[in-house]
């Protein structure tokens, strides 16, 4: 039972990170029907900014908890700026172009950002300090859940609740939902669609940055390529849950995390990707639009 719980929580930890990144994919897809392939790189840049800030603050002797908070905040600001700029220069000029063009532009930006970070930083793995405070009340359960697992799960849960409230109750959230359902009509009731798209990129990038800092501190090392792998997994999670659906991305992330974790624990870690992608294939065979996705409506 302990072993099961350990796998359960490690799956939940992974899944929470996948969900945080998947939200960025799904929100952007919901609004402009684009798979933002450069989203994983935003997550990676978030982790690098977190590392830089953490390094500086450590040398000034800040306590770990405040380093964690400040590093995350810096990562959010930086990643949000990258996401905003990315949309503005790589996607906005192509908005009325055929759908393939922005997709290729996205792949191009992904390769560009990877190589840019590789040249500006290094191609080696860099170790990332563990910034998680030790939670004393978890001592009794240390065999099943560690402090950084706990932190990731709680932060991801809080962030997702806040996001849901934002979409449901704020004016901007209303504008986002309207734009996702019908962009032209949203314009005609007075929604500034350009602004909605920018905010979507900013929010999605911020979530990815939080995920980047949390997981980097959990695993302890980063390099320029982490965004590619995490991006593909999170994209899988988004498709699994139904791309375009916000609760779908959360659910898809968790399911993917658990699949990988239980597979690693009970079968072999060599096969975790096989199980993850096999699950994707099976779900798409029976529910082509994903678990919570909607079948496209035939407009009459």
């Amino acid at each position: 039972m302990d072993y099961f719980l350990e796998l359960f929580f490690s799956g939940l930890t992974r899944g929470s990170i996948y969900a945080l990144i998947a939200l960025g994919y799904t929100m952007v897809y919901g609004i402009i029907e684009l798979i933002n392939f450069a989203h994983g790189e935003i997550y990676m840049i978030g982790a690098f900014v977190g590392l830089t800030v953490a390094g500086v603050l450590t040398s000034f002797g800040f306590p770990a908890t405040s380093i964690m908070v400040l590093a995350s905040m810096a990562a959010i600001v930086y990643a949000a700026a990258y996401g905003y700029t990315l949309e503005k220069i790589a996607y906005r000029p192509l908005r009325s172009a055929p759908r393939l063009s922005p997709l290729i532009s996205a792949i191009g930006m992904s390769i560009f950002l990877q190589n840019y970070v590789m040249l500006a930083q290094t191609s080696d793995f860099i170790s990332f300090p563990s910034l998680t405070p030790e939670f004393a009340f978890l001592d009794k359960y240390s065999s099943t859940i560690g402090s950084s697992d706990f932190l990731i799960i709680v932060v991801a849960a809080v962030v997702m609740v806040l996001l849901t409230l934002f979409i449901k109750f704020t004016r901007m959230g209303k504008a986002m939902r309207a734009t996702a359902q019908n962009r032209k009509m949203a314009m005609l009731v007075g929604v500034n669609v350009d602004q909605v798209i920018s905010v979507t990129f900013i929010v999605g990038s911020s979530l990815a940055a939080v995920g980047g800092v949390l997981i980097a501190s959990h695993i302890g090392q980063i390099n320029f390529f982490i965004g590619f792998i995490a991006g593909i997994k999170a994209f899988t999670a988004a498709v699994l849950g139904g791309i375009g659906s916000v609760p779908g991305a959360m659910l898809g992330g968790l399911i993917l995390g658990w699949t990988e974790s239980f597979c690693t624990g009970y079968v072999s870690s060599d096969y975790e990707d096989v199980f993850a992608f096999a699950l994707l294939v099976i779900i798409l065979i029976f529910r082509p639009s994903g678990l919570l996705g909607k079948a496209p409506i035939q407009k009459v």
Binding site: R177, N182, K184, M185, M187, L188, V189, G190
Partner: protein
């Protein structure tokens, strides 16, 4: 109130509107009739700023608006009921109406206008908690008109409100359009393929063909015009 001066609008390289000149006075109902693909919908999208003109001017209340974004134009008092109604399918009727009032902040006034919409179309009140996507065509049209009115427009643009509806519902909707015009003095710009009904509702009309205005006159004269009769009234 609204003036289109030598407007030319393009989709890529294809010219959809050629030298359009239209004038609408305050309090009028005017109609733009013509066949499929004549450029009627493009005319409305040009006025709303969704497809801005390449050359020419759109003047509203003495101010050029052809370079303004759609949200600014809505804010100035021009609302559109687009072709195909474009109801937000996953929002309830009440939320759809609320979206119509997106640029307003006076919650008391919004509530009042929502009640007024329910008075105008009692069926919407009965279904107020249902999703927009589950409504029938006629109900969607009623909702689309009500949603546009939620912005308290001074100028209401209506694109083919009769499309795909039963004759009885069409008559009901046109009665409401006349009522809106009369009671609150809202100026109405009506685009229709159903020329007979449109000309009987409007004060004046424009006839469009291949992106050009070929005729404009009072409704009575257009109804009596031999060419219009032959081409659009099926007489």
């Amino acid at each position: 109130m609204l003036k289109l001066k030598n407007v030319n609008t393009f989709y890529g390289n294809i010219q959809a509107l050629r030298n359009i000149n239209i004038e609408v006075a305050k309090g009028e109902i005017i109609t733009l009739i013509g066949a499929n693909g004549a450029g009627k919908t493009t005319t409305l999208m040009t006025i709303s700023g969704v497809v801005p003109p390449r050359t020419g001017e759109v003047i509203y209340d003495g101010e050029p608006i052809h370079k303004k974004s759609p949200d600014k134009i809505v804010k100035m008092g021009i609302s559109q009921v687009p072709e195909g109604r474009l109801i937000f399918p996953d929002l309830t009727i009440m939320e759809n109406l609320d979206m119509g009032a997106f640029l307003r902040n006076d919650s008391a006034g919004i509530k009042e206008d929502m009640d007024h919409a329910f008075e105008l179309f009692p069926i919407l009140y009965e279904r107020r908690k249902q999703l927009g996507g589950n409504l029938s065509g006629g109900e969607q049209q009623m909702l689309a008109i009500s949603r546009a009115l939620m912005a308290r427009p001074k100028l209401l643009l209506l694109d083919e409100p009769s499309l795909g509806l039963a004759p009885l519902i069409i008559r009901q909707i046109f009665e409401i359009v006349k009522k809106i015009n009369k009671e609150s003095g809202t100026t109405v710009f009506l685009v229709e393929q159903n020329a007979n009904l449109a000309l009987k509702t409007a004060h004046r009309g424009y006839v469009m063909e291949n992106g050009e205005i070929i005729l404009s006159d009072t409704s009575e004269k257009l109804l009596a015009n031999e060419d219009v009769k032959k081409a659009y009234l099926g007489l």
